[in-house]
C-alpha cells in the first residue's frame, strides 16, 4: 500500500514524511447502528466496504426463524460511513466537483508534457521545459484555480451603502488560497518582479482565512464595521484611526480611502468650520490613491498608479515619498484643531514612509507585517532567498503562536523546500492537492523536478510523483461516483499504474449492465482486452447463476469463453430434448436465437442450434406427410450425428425421435452409407453401455432395439432402391 510509505522510522520530522500520518491520539468516534433486529443476535461480521465505509452484517439465531416467524428478518447488513477526512471547508459534493473538473486540465497537461518531451529528445540542445511549456503550466493552473471557487466580489449595487467599506463576497477557501500561492510562485515564473504585489493581493483576498486562528486586520475591520452604526462622531473614536492605519499597512487602499471619506469634516454642515482639517484628510486620501505600484495591472476599484517597469516605478516612488515628506512638514498640522485627526493622519504618513514601528503596531501578525514591508519598505524585493530572510525577520518581530496551514505552506515555498511544501499540501489539503500541485512544483526548479521524478528504492522503485498519484487514485477508486476517473491518474503512473488499474477494473460491481459497460469502455480505451474479456466472463457467470440465462450466454459469447459455454451446453442438454412435444422447448428458442449462427463463438451450444433445426423439421414431419420436409429432417439428423460436438448420450434419443424418418412410408430416406454410419454409431453406443460413466436415458427399454430394427429395415430398402 502506498499509503504506508510515510518515511522510515528514524525520519520523524514532518518535512521528510512523504505522506504524513498523524500520530496524535483521537477520541474514539461512536456510530450508533439501527439494525431493527430482535435480539438475540448470534453472529456479527464486520468488513471493509467501498472507501471508508464498514459493512456490518448481523445474523439472528437461525432456529428462531425457521417455522412460524417467516416474516421476521433473519439478519441485516448495514453500511457505516466513517467520518469523512475533509475539514468541513469543502463538502463532499464540492470535492467531487473539483475532482471531476481537474481531470481535463490534468490529462491535457500530461499529453502536452509527453509531446514536449518527445520533441526535446529530437532536438539535442534544448531544455525540455521552455517558455511554451510555462504557458501550458499556467493554463493548467488557471483551469484548476477556476474550479476552486471564484474570488471575485459581487458587483457593486447601484445604491452603495456609504457606511459599508468592507465588501463581503463568496467565502474564500483555504484550498483556493493555497493553490494561488503555488500558482504565483511556481507557474508565474516570468513575472518575478511583480511577486511582492501579487502577495499583497493574495493577503487582501485571503486574510479573512487567517482570522480563524488569530487576530487579523480583516477581523479588526469586520468588528469595526459592526460598531460603525452606533458611532456618532467617527473621528473621535481611537478604533477608527487604528483600523485605518492597519488597513493602510496591508495596502487595502480603496478601503482606507472610503473610510477616510467617512470623516466628520466631510459633512456639509461642518465643512466651513473644519476646512483645514478636511484639507489634510483629503490630501492624505489623494496621496494614498496615487501610490505607485510595481505590477502588471490593477483590477477595477483598486487604487494606485501602475508601473510595469522598475525604472519608471523608482522615479514615481521617490516623487511620491517626497510628496509625503512635504505634507508631513507642512504648517497646516498646527492649524488642525482636532487632535485625533492630526495624530491619526500623521501615523498614516509614517506608515507610508515605512516607519518600522508604525508598521509593527498597525499589523496583527508576521504575515501582515511582511506584506507591509513589501509595500512601504522594500518594494523591490526579488528572489526567494531575500524574501525568505525577510519573512524570518518578520516572524521574529511578530511571531504567530497558532500555526495555520496556509502559513506553513508559504514558509515551505519561501524556504524552497519541496519536501515541506509537499508535506504541507498533503497534511493540510489532502491527496487531490498534492497530486495536482506536483505539476506546478516540477516546474519550480531542476532540483524539485529531480526530487519528484527520481525513482526511489524505499518506495519500491517508484517516484514521489507516482506515489502521490497512486494515493490519489486510491481515494478516487474508493467512491462509487469517482472510480471512473481514477484510470486517468493511474495510466500516468509508469511503474505500478497499469497493475492497479487492472485491480480497480476487476473490483467493480457488475450486476447492472450500465456499470458493466462503463467498465468495459475503460478496458477498451486502454486496450486492456484481456481484462475486458475476463470481466465479461465474470459477468456472464453472474447472470447465468441468477437465472438470466440469455444475458449470461451473451456475455460469455462476447468473452469467447469456450469452456464455460461448453459447460452451459451440457446443462442445457439435461433439460432439453427429452421429447419432441415438450412445450418447454419453445422457451429455448429465444436463447438459441441469441446464440446466432456463428458456430465458433457459441462453443458446445452449436449443437443446440442444430438440434433446434432438427426438432423443427421433425415437428413438421409429424404434422404432415411431406417427403421434402422429411428429407430436410434427415439432413439435420445426419449433420447432428456426424458432428463431433454432439454428445454421445444424445445419439439414442435422437434416433428414437426419428423412428418415423427411418421407416418412412413412401421410400427409404437414408441411403446405404448414411444407414451404415448410423448403425456404426448404434454399435458404438452398445459398447459404451458397458462403461461405468454411461448415462442412462429415460427412454423405453426397447428403444435401442426399435432403432436397430428400423435401421436394418431401412438398410434393406435402401440397398434395394440403389440397385
Amino acid at each position: 500500500m502506498p499509503g504506508f510509505a510515510s518515511g522510515s522510522a528514524d525520519d520523524t520530522s514532518r518535512g521528510a514524511a512523504l505522506v504524513p500520518v498523524s500520530t496524535e491520539p483521537h477520541p474514539p468516534a461512536v456510530y450508533p447502528l439501527h439494525l431493527g433486529l430482535k435480539p438475540p443476535i448470534s453472529r456479527l461480521s464486520i468488513s471493509w466496504s467501498r472507501g471508508n465505509t464498514l459493512r456490518v452484517s448481523a445474523f439472528r439465531q437461525t432456529t428462531s426463524v425457521t417455522k412460524n416467524s417467516g416474516e421476521e428478518i433473519g439478519g441485516k447488513v448495514v453500511e457505516v460511513r466513517l467520518s469523512s477526512s475533509g475539514d468541513g471547508e469543502v463538502s463532499d459534493a464540492q470535492w467531487r466537483r473539483i475532482e471531476y473538473g481537474s481531470v481535463v486540465p490534468f490529462a491535457l497537461l500530461q499529453s502536452r508534457r509527453n509531446s514536449v518531451l518527445s520533441l526535446s529528445k529530437m532536438a539535442i540542445d534544448s531544455t525540455p521545459y521552455n517558455v511554451e511549456w510555462l504557458e501550458y503550466v499556467m493554463e493548467y493552473s488557471k483551469d484548476i484555480n477556476s474550479l476552486l471557487g471564484s474570488s471575485k466580489l459581487p458587483p457593486d449595487s447601484v445604491i452603495a451603502d456609504p457606511n459599508k467599506f468592507l465588501k463581503i463576497g463568496e467565502e474564500p477557501t483555504c484550498l483556493k488560497a493555497a493553490w494561488e500561492l503555488m500558482e504565483m510562485f511556481y507557474a508565474e515564473k516570468m513575472f518575478q518582479a511583480w511577486l511582492p504585489e501579487r502577495l499583497v493581493d493574495w493577503l487582501a483576498d485571503y486574510d479573512s482565512l487567517l482570522s480563524s486562528t488569530q487576530l487579523t486586520v480583516h477581523s479588526k475591520l469586520v468588528n469595526f464595521q459592526k460598531e460603525l452604526f452606533s458611532l456618532q462622531v467617527i473621528e473621535d473614536n481611537p478604533r477608527y484611526w487604528e483600523v485605518l492605519s492597519s488597513a493602510l499597512a496591508v495596502g487595502w487602499l480603496e478601503i482606507v480611502v472610503k473610510m477616510l471619506r467617512l470623516h466628520g469634516s466631510y459633512q456639509l454642515d461642518q465643512l466651513g468650520k473644519r476646512e483645514t482639517e478636511n484639507g489634510l484628510v483629503e490630501a492624505v486620501a489623494v496621496l494614498i490613491s496615487k501610490m505607485p505600484r510595481l505590477r502588471a495591472k490593477i483590477d477595477g476599484g483598486k487604487l494606485g498608479e501602475v508601473f510595469k517597469a522598475k525604472p519608471d516605478f523608482i522615479k514615481a516612488w521617490e516623487k511620491w515619498r517626497g510628496q509625503i515628506t512635504k505634507l508631513e512638514c507642512s504648517s497646516f498640522w498646527i492649524q488642525c484643531s482636532h487632535p485625533q485627526t492630526r495624530e491619526g493622519l500623521k501615523n498614516m504618513l509614517q506608515i507610508m514612509l515605512g516607519n518600522i514601528n508604525s508598521l509593527r503596531t498597525a499589523t496583527c501578525n508576521w504575515i501582515e507585517l511582511y506584506i507591509s514591508h513589501f509595500l512601504y519598505i522594500r518594494p523591490f524585493t526579488v528572489g526567494l532567498e531575500s524574501m525568505y530572510s525577510l519573512a524570518q525577520k518578520c516572524m521574529l518581530s511578530k511571531p504567530m503562536f497558532v500555526p495555520h496551514r496556509l502559513i506553513g505552506l508559504l514558509l515551505g515555498i519561501l524556504g524552497e523546500n519541496t519536501e515541506v511544501v509537499l508535506a504541507e499540501c498533503s497534511d493540510g489539503f489532502g491527496p487531490w492537492m498534492v497530486t495536482h500541485a506536483i505539476e506546478l512544483l516540477t516546474t519550480a526548479s531542476d532540483q524539485a523536478e529531480i526530487l519528484l521524478h527520481e525513482e526511489r528504492y524505499n518506495l519500491g522503485g517508484i517516484s514521489v510523483e507516482e506515489l502521490h498519484r497512486l494515493v490519489y487514485a486510491q481515494v478516487l477508486s474508493s467512491h462509487a461516483l469517482t472510480w471512473q476517473i481514477a484510470p486517468i491518474y493511474l495510466i500516468s503512473c509508469m511503474k505500478q499504474g497499469m497493475g492497479l488499474l487492472e485491480i480497480l477494473l476487476y473490483k467493480q460491481p457488475l450486476q447492472h449492465n450500465q456499470l458493466l459497460l462503463k467498465n468495459l469502455e475503460i478496458c477498451r480505451l486502454y486496450e486492456l482486452d484481456n481484462v475486458g474479456s475476463n470481466i465479461m466472463k465474470i459477468a456472464g457467470v453472474n447472470h447465468w447463476k441468477h437465472g438470466r440465462k440469455g444475458s449470461g450466454v451473451f456475455w460469455l459469447q462476447q468473452a469467447e469463453d469456450e469452456v464455460c459455454l461448453n459447460r452451459i451446453a451440457q446443462q442445457l442438454f439435461d433439460s432439453v430434448g427429452k421429447s419432441i412435444s415438450d412445450e418447454s422447448f419453445k422457451q429455448w428458442e429465444g436463447l438459441i436465437e441469441l446464440l446466432g449462427s456463428e458456430s465458433k463463438t457459441s462453443g458446445g451450444l452449436e449443437f443446440l442450434h442444430k438440434y433446434r433445426d432438427f426438432k423443427k423439421s421433425l415437428k413438421q414431419v409429424h404434422d404432415g406427410k411431406i417427403t421434402d420436409t422429411a428429407r430436410q429432417a434427415v439432413e439435420s439428423l445426419m449433420m447432428l450425428m456426424r458432428n463431433p460436438s454432439t454428445p454421445q448420450r444424445f445419439w439414442l434419443p435422437l434416433l428414437f425421435d426419428s423412428l418415423k424418418l427411418l421407416s418412412w412410408w413412401e421410400r427409404p430416406l437414408l441411403n446405404v452409407s448414411q444407414t451404415n454410419l448410423l448403425l456404426n454409431k448404434l454399435q458404438e453406443l452398445s459398447l459404451a453401455r458397458l462403461r461405468p460413466d454411461f448415462i442412462k436415458s429415460d427412454l423405453p427399454p426397447d428403444a435401442l432395439n426399435a432403432v436397430r430394427l428400423a435401421l436394418a429395415t431401412n438398410l434393406g430398402r435402401a440397398i434395394l432402391e440403389e440397385q
Binding site: 449492465n513 469502455e521 477498451r524 438470466r548 462476447q558
Partner: protein, 349 residues
C-alpha cells in the same frame, strides 16, 4: 458543407450533488413554465429520489417536489397527461402524477411475479392509461393504470424465463410496441396476437465476433413501422418492418460495406427522434427515409444524426452523457444528464 456557421445553441451546465439516473421533461402546466423530473441517487447515503424541478428563466433548477422510491430508478418516462412511470432496480414500477403542487403517487406494483430483478424499461401510452415494462428477466408486463387504486394490476404478455433479456421498450400504438435487447435484438409485439412477438429482428449483420445490446429505442408517431435503436459500439440503426432483415445503419457499426458516419465508438445510451431538426431535403422525403435522430453516448457526445448527412454534434463532454430528453412541446430544448453529477440544458436557436 454550409459556408455560414449555424447559430450556436445555448448551453447551461447545472451542477447537482448527486448522481443522475434519468432526466425527463414534464409537460408544461402553463405557457412559460418549464419543469423536469430528475431521478437522483446519492451515493454517500445510498438513497435515491425522484424530484421535480422547475427551470427558472435564469436557467437554474429549483426543486418543487420530491418522492422517495424504494430503490434506484432504472427507467423513467412521462406521458402527455402529466403522469410519470418510474421503474426501479429492485423490480417495482411506480406511477406518479404531477399537478404543479407536488408528486402524487398513483399506484405501484412490485410483488413477486412482476419482475425478477431490475426492470430495465418502461413506457406509458400517450394517454397514460397503460404502461408496458420489460426486464432482463425476459418478462414483458402490461400494467393498467386505473384512477385511484393504490395497487396496480398487471398482465403478463410474455415470459422469457431469463432466456432472453430486454433492455428497452416503446409503444408504437395503443396495442403495438417494440422491444430491444441483447444481441441487437428487436421485437415487434401486437397485443391482439398474444403469446409471442409478431416479428423479430436478429442483429446478425456482418460484423465479426462482437455483438451488442440495444439500450434505447424510439418510434416516430407518423412512422409506426420503423423502430429507431441505439446500442453498443456507437451503433444507431433503424429497423423497418417492411424490410425486415436489413437494418438501416445511421451511425457506428463497422459494416465494411457502406461508409457510414460514426459519431461515437462507445455505448449509445439513448436515442430519440429529433422533431426540431428538419430533414434537409424536405421536398422529396420518402417514407423509407429515416427522420433525424438525436443520440447521446458514453464518450460524451450529444449529436443529431440524419441519414446520409454529416452528424451535428451539440455537445462533446469529457464524461458520459447518460440520458437526455427533447421537450415535446418545445423541441428546441434538450435536457441531458452527465456522468459527473450535472445536468446540461441545451437551447437551440
Amino acid at each position: 458543407m454550409a459556408i455560414t456557421e449555424p447559430p450556436t445553441p445555448q448551453i447551461h451546465r447545472l451542477q447537482q450533488s448527486s448522481y443522475l439516473d434519468a432526466v425527463r421533461w414534464l409537460p408544461p402546466l402553463s405557457a412559460f413554465d418549464k419543469t423536469a423530473a430528475l431521478a437522483l441517487y446519492d451515493a454517500d447515503t445510498a438513497t435515491s429520489s425522484l424530484e421535480v424541478h422547475s427551470l427558472t428563466p435564469q436557467n437554474s433548477l429549483t426543486s418543487q417536489s420530491r418522492w422517495t422510491p424504494p430503490s434506484r430508478i432504472s427507467s423513467l418516462r412521462t406521458s402527455n397527461s402529466s403522469l410519470l412511470a418510474a421503474s426501479t432496480f429492485s423490480g417495482s414500477l411506480h406511477i406518479l402524477g404531477y399537478d404543479g403542487s407536488g408528486l402524487e403517487p398513483q399506484g405501484s406494483i412490485g410483488e413477486v411475479g412482476f419482475h425478477v430483478g431490475c426492470v430495465s424499461g418502461v413506457d406509458l401510452v400517450d394517454d397514460g392509461s397503460e404502461c408496458v415494462s420489460v426486464g432482463e428477466d425476459g418478462r414483458v408486463n402490461l400494467v393498467r393504470v386505473v384512477g385511484d387504486s393504490s395497487r396496480l394490476s398487471h398482465r403478463r404478455v410474455f415470459d422469457g424465463n431469463g432466456l432472453v433479456g430486454f433492455s428497452a421498450v416503446k409503444w408504437a400504438s395503443p396495442t403495438e410496441f417494440f422491444t430491444g435487447g441483447f444481441g441487437f435484438n428487436l421485437k415487434f409485439w401486437d397485443l391482439r396476437k398474444p403469446g409471442a412477438a409478431v416479428s423479430q429482428f436478429k442483429g446478425n449483420w456482418n460484423r465479426g465476433k462482437t455483438s451488442g445490446i440495444v439500450h434505447s429505442i424510439d418510434i416516430h408517431p407518423s412512422r409506426k413501422h420503423t423502430c429507431l435503436a441505439g446500442g453498443s459500439s456507437g451503433t444507431l440503426f433503424a429497423w423497418d418492418l417492411r424490410w425486415q432483415q436489413q437494418p438501416i445503419i445511421l451511425s457506428g457499426a463497422r459494416t465494411g460495406e457502406v461508409a457510414t458516419h460514426s459519431v461515437s465508438e462507445s455505448e449509445v445510451w439513448e436515442v430519440q427522434y429529433d422533431r426540431y431538426t428538419k430533414p434537409s431535403n424536405i421536398g422529396n422525403i420518402s417514407s423509407s427515409r429515416i427522420l433525424p435522430a438525436m443520440m447521446c453516448s458514453e464518450d460524451g457526445i450529444l449529436a443529431v444524426v440524419e441519414q446520409g448527412e454529416e452528424p451535428v454534434e451539440l455537445l462533446a463532454e469529457p464524461c458520459a452523457i447518460n440520458s437526455f430528453d427533447i421537450d415535446r412541446h418545445n423541441p428546441a430544448d434538450v435536457i441531458c444528464s452527465l456522468e459527473w453529477e450535472s445536468v446540461v440544458i441545451v437551447t437551440r436557436p
